[in-house]
């Protein structure tokens, strides 16, 4: 039968595609669509009430106290994004360059830099909470031990330091990821180009800015986009280190925590509101999708094909 190998092949492909597709449909597409739908209804506890159009969106964006909370959380996400762009992607690029240039100890550092990435966020969160413990934390003990006791702070309890403490913990955790991606990008740069550069100049700065940076543009597209999505979906680390309330007094509140608290309630403080929570989820989703799409589009345009 001439048709049967082809048919078998098709069946085989179908059998491979259908389970993941069904999985994605059930656990990704369906929840997103239902959140969209939930956002347009009023909720009495868990019971769906009447259709209210855009009232939930209006509520979280323009009525108090939600408007202030939304703006506060959003601005924190923006700060987190830019801070991590420098502390995570920027440092990652420099580290990658050092590793690529095979500075002494490169083999060791390649592992050391990437190791924290493998740790789960839960472990990193608790670890840094211990590091920053006001009494026994290694940060304050080191400061006191080196005569800088005046700089010892209750890091996670002050609105001036708490968010930065989380940002640094996150950068420490994830810096290995952009490093690895940039390093892979650098290793793809053909030797002839580098040889050609070496004949022109010995300046590292020229090498970085005129050759390496433009040629690792595809890597940059990846890490920038992922950082953007990650910063605006930031949840685990603040949840573990600062709690669902964004303690102290919402100084570490980000959209992820705010959405979770609004939708599901906070055992020690507030009730649940699926309508407002879903509206927030939809807004966050749309914002991330649109801006991430734009970033990818713009960054792709500047990539150079080798």
């Amino acid at each position: 039968m001439p048709g049967s190998p082809l048919l078998a092949r098709r069946l085989w492909i179908t059998a491979l595609i259908v389970p993941p597709l069904a999985f994605v449909a059930l656990f990704v597409v369906y929840p997103i669509i239902s959140a969209f739908a939930y956002a347009f209804f009023q909720w009495h506890g868990l019971a769906r009430g009447e259709f209210v159009g855009f009232a939930n969106f209006y509520k979280v964006l323009f009525t108090q106290p939600y408007a202030d909370w939304t703006a506060n959380a959003f601005l924190h996400n923006v700060l987190v994004f830019f801070a991590l762009m420098v502390l995570q992607n920027g440092v990652g690029f420099l580290l990658a360059y050092c590793l690529w240039r095979e500075l002494p100890g490169a083999a060791f550092h390649r592992v050391a830099v990437f190791l924290p990435v493998v740790l789960s966020t839960i472990i990193v969160g608790f670890l840094w909470k211990l590091f920053l413990h006001p009494l026994f934390g290694v940060v304050n003990i080191s400061l006191r031990g080196t005569g800088l006791g005046g700089l010892a702070q209750p890091w996670l309890g002050q609105d001036t330091t708490a968010l930065w403490a989380l940002i640094i913990a996150n950068a420490w955790h994830m810096v290995g990821f952009p490093t690895l991606v940039f390093l892979a990008g650098m290793q793809r740069i053909p030797g002839e180009i580098l040889d050609a550069v070496r004949m022109e100049t010995e300046s590292e700065w020229v090498k970085i800015s005129k050759v390496v940076w433009p040629l690792v543009a595809p890597s940059a597209t990846v890490v920038f986009t992922l950082l953007f999505v990650g910063s605006f979906n930031w949840f685990e680390l603040p949840y573990i280190m600062a709690g669902v309330d964004g303690s102290p007094h919402k100084a570490t509140d980000v959209l992820g925590l705010y959405f979770y608290r609004t939708a599901f309630g906070d055992q020690s403080g507030s009730g649940q509101d699926f309508g407002a929570g879903s509206a927030l989820a939809v807004l966050i989703f749309l914002f991330i999708a649109i801006v991430a799409g734009f970033i990818t589009f713009r960054l792709r345009a500047r990539e150079i094909q080798i």
Partner: protein, 412 residues
């Protein structure tokens, strides 16, 4: 003759409802993972007396319990009997129609419960009760008796006594208080445990009567004193989380701990050798009535859609019985809400004694019914107060204006 027929019908009816109750499996959901062994013991006692009914106790992580329960109930997959929260948390579930109304016809023992206990499990607008309250909690000061004895200290009778005792402990190299306020809800605990006496019953009554708000001098003054006493909290206490602060006290590094009565069992488990005492915060003068802040924790509710209503109600009636209340107090070291329970544990007896002079834990009991909730506002405002970002007056003002968004008496 008519009577006989009626009796037969009633008997048949009872039999008919009893028959399916033979060999019924009930599911019972809880957020108290740590109490699983004790609850299984209670259930055995019930099953021994009610052959044919078995109860399966299932626990979920406390912080996610509401979400899990909500989702299950909404999907029609909830348990037959469940732990329900109190106050605003109860209304969230009850208003959606998921719980069976309870009253003196289906749970006769409810009538004898304290009104405040029943109110905690009652929806305010409809006055319908949905759960049998299980325990009350009290915000007070726990102290390490050994440390107090070693330093020649007694339970303070006035605020000055407290300050002097704190100074003495500090001089002896002991942290006077072990508390930290990085975990948001701990800030509310501080207000309940430290400021209740200072704000006084008069303030509470006036607040409830709509005669005053949180800008009241009595409230603001109490917050100023609260801020003052944090001088004796650990260095950097605003960055100290809840778990760490518990450890400071349990390990004997701190002399006092402002917290809920629920801490007692936990401290005893962590450090069985430690002798603990409790007291209510003193007022400025020796004669001032010392007050603790009390609230009810939650209750046992029945799923409105359960197919085993009779069996479930039987079990809930058992949970409302004095026999259960006594076991609950003895085995879980908690203040059972069942009336007439006696406390073997001396400390629990003392808590019950302190409860006679109490005001409700204000924000949880009265201000968690709208957004922003009083608890959320208070927790954030106290964090501002303690880190020097707000004065007591500003806190009082922000609480009042924040709550005015939904609390009618504050609307100007």
């Amino acid at each position: 003759m008519k009577k006989l027929i009626m009796k037969t019908i009633v008997a048949l009816g009872a039999l008919a409802t009893a028959l399916p109750a033979l060999a019924e499996d009930l599911t019972f959901w809880s957020w108290r993972q740590e109490d699983k062994a004790q609850y299984e013991k209670f259930i055995k006692a019930f099953e021994a007396k009610n052959p044919g009914i078995t109860v399966k106790f299932e626990t979920f992580e406390a912080t996610n319990y509401n979400t899990i329960l909500s989702t299950a109930l909404a999907g029609g997959a909830g348990p037959d009997i469940m732990f329900a929260r109190a106050y605003g948390g109860l209304e969230n579930v009850a208003n959606a129609g998921y719980l069976l109304p309870l009253d003196k016809t289906n749970v006769p023992a409810l009538e004898k419960f304290a009104p405040a206990a029943v109110a905690a499990e009652t929806v305010r607008s409809s006055k319908i009760t949905y759960a049998v309250p299980f325990a009350s909690q009290t915000m007070l000061v726990i102290y390490n008796k050994d440390i107090f004895d070693k330093n020649g200290l007694k339970e303070p009778e006035t605020w000055d006594d407290l300050v002097k005792a704190s100074e003495k402990l500090k001089a002896a190299g002991v942290m006077p208080f072990g508390n930290g306020t990085a975990t948001a809800w701990q800030n509310e605990v501080m207000v309940g445990g430290i400021a209740s006496t200072l704000m006084g019953k008069g303030f509470y009554d006036d607040l409830m009567a709509g005669k005053t708000d949180f800008t009241d001098k009595r409230y603001v003054g109490a917050l100023a004193k609260l801020k003052e006493i944090t001088k004796y909290f650990p260095d950097g206490f605003i960055g100290l989380d809840y778990a760490s602060s518990q450890q400071l006290f349990a390990s004997g590094m701190a002399g006092m701990f402002v917290g809920g009565s629920y801490e007692l069992a936990n401290f005893k488990k962590q450090n069985p050798k430690m002798n603990m005492g409790i007291f209510a915060m003193p007022g400025m003068k020796a004669g001032d009535e010392k007050l603790v802040a009390q609230y009810f924790d939650g209750g046992y509710a029945v799923n409105a859609k359960t197919t085993k209503k009779e069996a479930a109600l039987k079990f809930v009636n058992f949970l409302a019985s004095q026999e259960f209340g006594q076991m609950f107090a003895d085995d879980l070291n908690n203040i059972s809400a069942v009336p007439g329970v006696t406390f073997k544990d001396a400390l629990l007896g003392e808590v019950a004694e302190l409860n006679k002079h109490s005001i409700p834990y204000i924000m949880l009991v009265h201000f968690r019914f709208g957004e922003p909730s009083g608890s959320v506002l208070l927790q954030g405002e106290i964090q501002k107060l303690l880190s020097g970002k707000a004065t007591p007056e500003e806190v009082g003002k922000n609480l009042t204006t924040g709550l005015a968004a939904w609390y009618a008496p504050f609307k100007k």
